[in-house]
């Protein structure tokens, strides 16, 4: 509805509006409250985000019909909604996990940057226009560059931030070039009109493919797919651990959301070639991520490669979409599986990084060998780590199992059985190194015997995450319904 305002338009961007409000609150509190109470900002952020989720769930839900609003800039549908809730949840947990993190949790700017990035992500997920999308991507990325390098006294952090900035800027520039080409070919920047525009202009498919590849560079960077994954290990290792968690989950999910939208909607005419690209990327990403993870001695780096591998798995779902007719059952199932996987992956990875954050505080190291005997020093924490690792490996009754199951089912349904088999074989490699981590945690004797204490924010966050992982893994029906709603509303 172009032109006049109505309530639906505000409904569509309700979370974003509330995020701004929360940002303002944080800023105010940061200025007003004394320095030593600043750690409460973390609680405020988290609770605030929780409230935003609640309010959005009550009043902000999209209807059965998806709508384009704000001049086509924003698309109000289930896809955007579900992903927004995910980002808000992830941000809340990140805030909790950062509350007691050294240097980081006491700074108001930190929470503000997180909120800003979250805002960008929400817009990414519901963008209906290329310009909007680009703006949203930048809004997401720039705060992230700063957040990655937030630990100014740590060389690795600074390096991480810088590397992320350089890579990201490069990727964005290439992507922008691709967007501009698309605008040139199609005559419109609206994602939903691109398809008709491209067809009407009878653009040779080679040109479209070229612009596709350029755009893919940008998205590929965001989801750390091969060959644009090189930044991930260093950045994850250097960034503050909760930020690494946030990056690996929410940012990646946002990338996938945008990817889904753009490629499914904008390029139906060349879906075959897209299929080849997608499957190649999927195989390369999975395999490289898993095999390089085997060699790692640093746990954060290992999780970085594991995240790359998981991006690969998600790309399987994407491949299933790519080789199926748009709007078909197989395509919809593929979309559902991607969404479900992102949800499951998000809670799992956050739990993993969260546990590392706690332990890191106590031992000061994130080498795998520092985690020896964690089970003796902190049995509860070890259990959380176990749940996270097993969920990453895809073991029931955890979220990772059912999400992988859907993914492989989508591949089989789309007649990509060979791809499912490769995915399965990769899971086995993954199982190996996840179990190895567990081995260190449970088997080897610890360097010290003292117990490790966890402060309240950590406990709350990790308990919530563990419960969600188990619940998603067992009572997956509601989440699945969401995913199918996303798929239905996307087209």
């Amino acid at each position: 509805m172009i032109g006049g305002f109505n309530s639906v338009m505000f409904q569509a961007i309700l979370p974003e509006i509330l995020l701004l409000v929360l940002g303002a609150v944080i800023l105010t509190l940061d200025l007003v409250t004394p320095k030593q109470d600043h750690r409460n900002l973390g609680w405020v952020t988290a609770i605030g985000l929780g409230l935003i989720v609640l309010v959005s769930l009550i009043v902000g839900r999209p209807g059965a019909q998806s709508q384009e609003l704000w001049g086509g800039m924003v698309r109000f549908d289930w896809m955007g909604f579900v992903f927004k809730m995910m980002f808000l949840f992830a941000a809340a947990l990140t805030a909790l996990l950062s509350t007691d993190h050294q240097e980081v949790g006491q700074r108001g700017e930190f929470y503000l940057l997180v909120l800003a990035s979250t805002l960008g992500m929400s817009l990414m997920a519901s963008a209906g226009d290329l310009v909007m999308l680009y703006l949203a991507i930048e809004t997401t990325s720039i705060p992230m560059y700063v957040l990655a390098g937030f630990l100014t006294r740590d060389q690795r952090s600074t390096e991480a931030g810088f590397k992320y900035l350089l890579f990201g800027a490069f990727a964005s520039a290439v992507m922008l070039y691709g967007f501009s080409l698309l605008y040139g070919f199609a005559g419109t920047t609206s994602i939903y009109d691109l398809a008709t525009g491209l067809r009407a202009g009878s653009i040779p498919s080679s040109s479209v493919v070229a612009s596709l590849l350029l755009v893919l560079v940008g998205f590929g960077f965001k989801i750390s797919a091969v060959p644009l994954h090189f930044w991930a290990p260093d950045v994850y290792e250097g960034a503050p651990t909760p930020i690494a968690g946030f990056l690996s989950t929410a940012s990646k999910a946002a990338g996938f959301a945008a990817l889904l939208r753009v490629f499914i909607i904008a390029f139906p005419s060349i879906s075959i070639e897209w299929g080849a690209v997608a499957t190649t990327m999927a195989v390369a990403t999975m395999t490289l991520g898993n095999f390089l993870a085997l060699a790692q001695k640093n746990l954060k780096r290992m999780l970085a490669y594991s995240s790359i591998a998981h991006a690969g798995y998600t790309l399987i779902g994407l491949s299933a979409i790519a080789v199926s007719a748009p709007g078909s059952d197989a395509a919809k199932f593929g979309i559902s599986s991607v969404v479900f996987y992102m949800i499951a992956y998000m809670v799992t990875n956050l739990a993993a990084f969260g546990s590392i954050a706690v332990f890191e505080r106590a031992t000061g190291s994130d080498e795998i060998s520092a985690f020896n005997g964690m089970s003796r020093r902190a049995p509860g924490l070890a259990l959380v780590m176990m749940v996270a690792m097993l969920s990453l490996a895809g073991m029931p009754p955890l979220a990772g199992f059912i999400s992988k199951f859907f993914l492989f089912a989508a591949a089989v349904k789309a007649n990509l059985i060979w791809l499912a088999v490769i995915g399965v074989l990769n899971s086995i490699v993954g199982l190996y190194y996840y179990l190895t981590v567990l081995k260190y945690i449970y088997l080897y004797p610890p360097a010290e015997e003292s117990a490790i204490s966890m402060s309240k924010p950590y406990t709350v966050a990790l308990v919530v995450l563990t419960l969600v992982i188990i619940v998603v893994g067992t009572f997956f029906s509601p989440i699945y319904d969401w995913s199918t709603a996303v798929a239905a509303g996307l087209f």
Binding site: L383, F401, A409, V412, K413, S427, L431, Y442, S477, Y480
Partner: protein, 490 residues
């Protein structure tokens, strides 16, 4: 509403595990007692289920079905029939005796029992499920605790290697079967994972022939089929006693059972097509396993390889696709389960005292552990297929079935009986009779009362089934009738 007894059986262990994790780790006796209470409950309920099955009525009973993900046709669907009722009882038995045998574990018993119970839930779930998705769900739950149980509490020399090898092997097998199962789900066009519906799906013979090997072999890996049996001996040896009991006694049956449920019952045409090489592999299991067992010097490796051999008999019985063969295989799963649990318990008891498992170094244990000796002799006689014990009740129909279908294989497999007898007798003579070496005499003493209860319990069951086979055979036969119907009709 009918009391959901099967669900109670399935979930009691994992709920107990959660309870255990909340007890402080130092309160070891409370932990043990809680674990034992749960095991007793599981055993009592599984025995109740076993004896209350109405053979005249047949079919699946005590059914519970709840929607889980209706959009994809996934439901929580459980029921017992003649094939899985004995296995449920077997799990209860092994769980109970396993807890008794593990009473002495002093390093983090809380985590030990918790992981073991998660494993038990997985096992129970697979045995009673009637939904294909649920089967995989619980199957995987049964795989990963093994890693932790072996890696943490196992034999220091090989535990990490064996644990990883076992877990990877089993995982590979299950995911390969998963891909096959997904193919079945989609091709059937029924949009449901319910196994009862899939039994009627009428897959095309070509489809069945292609998919059957993946599904069957994927599960049969857990059943220890040659050449993918390699994880089993190392896994058995490295694992702590109760875990070995579970592993050989129950887990390997899981593989054979799942192969039966998913491979044979859902893809009967594929089964008929491929059984000729399956039975050849099973023959290799039986004979080769027996040979290798006979040359081992480590007591536990002998038992480990003998499990490979006896599971081969199970596969062989199923592979005949005949009434007698499958009847025997069904009984053999139970009989071997109890027998091997007993064997490993005995090995554990000897090792705990002697701190060696090398047969040349062991002798004369009869003098200090007379009941253990007797129990091992009973187990040994079962293993040889001596009439009067449950091993004979199982092996006789298997051989009958093999005779009917592949007579030469029956003759070849019969060799293994003699080899088994030879090495069993040799071991009994060497380890238990003779003189007790001086270095053992001072610190080796008899086993605890709990250990004795476990051994007597297991031996009594082996003798009971051997002397009165009709306590089990009609039940298994009714389950076999169901399978034959699917094979004949398809």
């Amino acid at each position: 509403m009918q009391f959901p007894i099967l669900s109670v059986i399935v979930f009691t262990p994992i709920l107990t595990a959660l309870i255990l994790l909340m007890i402080p780790g130092e309160r070891k006796n409370e932990i043990r007692v809680t674990a034992l209470a749960a095991a007793v409950i599981a055993l009592a309920l599984s025995a109740w289920v076993y004896f209350s099955y109405d053979i005249a009525q047949g079919g699946y009973q005590l059914i519970e079905k709840y929607d889980w993900l209706p959009a994809l046709g996934i439901s929580y669907h459980v029921g017992v029939d003649g094939m899985n009722a004995p296995l449920v009882l077997l799990t209860g038995i092994v769980m109970f005796t396993g807890v008794l045998i593990s009473w002495k574990i002093d390093d983090r018993p809380r985590e030990f029992f918790a992981f073991m119970f998660i494993l038990a839930t997985g096992v129970f779930g697979v045995f009673v499920t009637l939904d294909l998705f649920m089967l995989f769900f619980f199957y995987e739950i049964a795989v990963f605790p093994m890693y932790l149980l072996i890696a943490i509490w196992g034999w220091k020399v090989t535990r990490e290697y064996a644990a990883m090898k076992l877990t990877l092997y089993l995982f590979i097998g299950s995911v390969i079967a998963l891909v096959g199962a997904l193919a079945m789900y989609f091709v059937s066009g029924l949009g449901t994972f319910d196994m009862l519906a899939l039994e009627q799906a009428n897959f095309s013979p070509e489809f069945q022939k292609i998919v059957f090997p993946f599904v069957f072999m994927g599960f049969a890996v857990l059943g220890g089929i040659f050449p993918f049996h390699n994880w089993s001996p190392d896994g058995h040896v490295a694992a702590p006693t109760a875990v070995s009991m579970f592993h050989a006694g129950v887990l390997m049956k899981l593989g054979a059972f799942a192969a039966l449920r998913v491979g044979v019952m859902l893809l009967p045409e594929g089964a008929k097509e491929h059984m000729w090489w399956v039975i050849l592999l099973a023959l290799v299991n039986v004979v080769y396993g027996a040979f290798i067992a006979s040359i081992q010097t480590d007591f536990k490796y002998v038992i480990g390889f003998s499990s490979v051999s006896h599971m081969g008999l199970v596969t062989m019985g199923f592979a005949t696709l005949s009434r007698e063969g499958m009847l025997g295989a069904g009984v053999q799963m139970f009989s071997h389960g109890v027998m091997t649990a007993l064997f490993f318990a005995v090995v554990g008891m000897v090792y705990d005292q002697a701190h060696t498992r090398q047969i040349p170094e062991l002798s004369g244990f009869r003098k200090v552990m007379p009941l253990v000796t007797l129990a091992f002799i009973v187990g040994g006689l079962v293993s040889m297929g001596m009439p009067g014990f449950s091993g004979f009740v199982a092996e006789f129909p298997i051989f009958m079935g093999v005779w009917k279908t592949y007579p030469w294989i029956a003759i070849a497999a019969a060799i293994s009986i003699v080899i088994t007898a030879a090495y069993i007798i040799r071991i009994i003579g060497k380890v238990f009779f003779g003189n007790l070496p001086a270095e053992f005499a001072d610190h080796v003493h008899d086993v605890t009362a709990l250990d004795k209860i476990a051994l007597v319990f297991l031996s009594a069951i082996l003798i009971l089934v051997g002397v009165y086979p009709s306590i089990m055979t009609p039940l298994v036969e009714s389950g076999v009738q169901n399978i034959l119907r699917l094979l004949g009709g398809a």
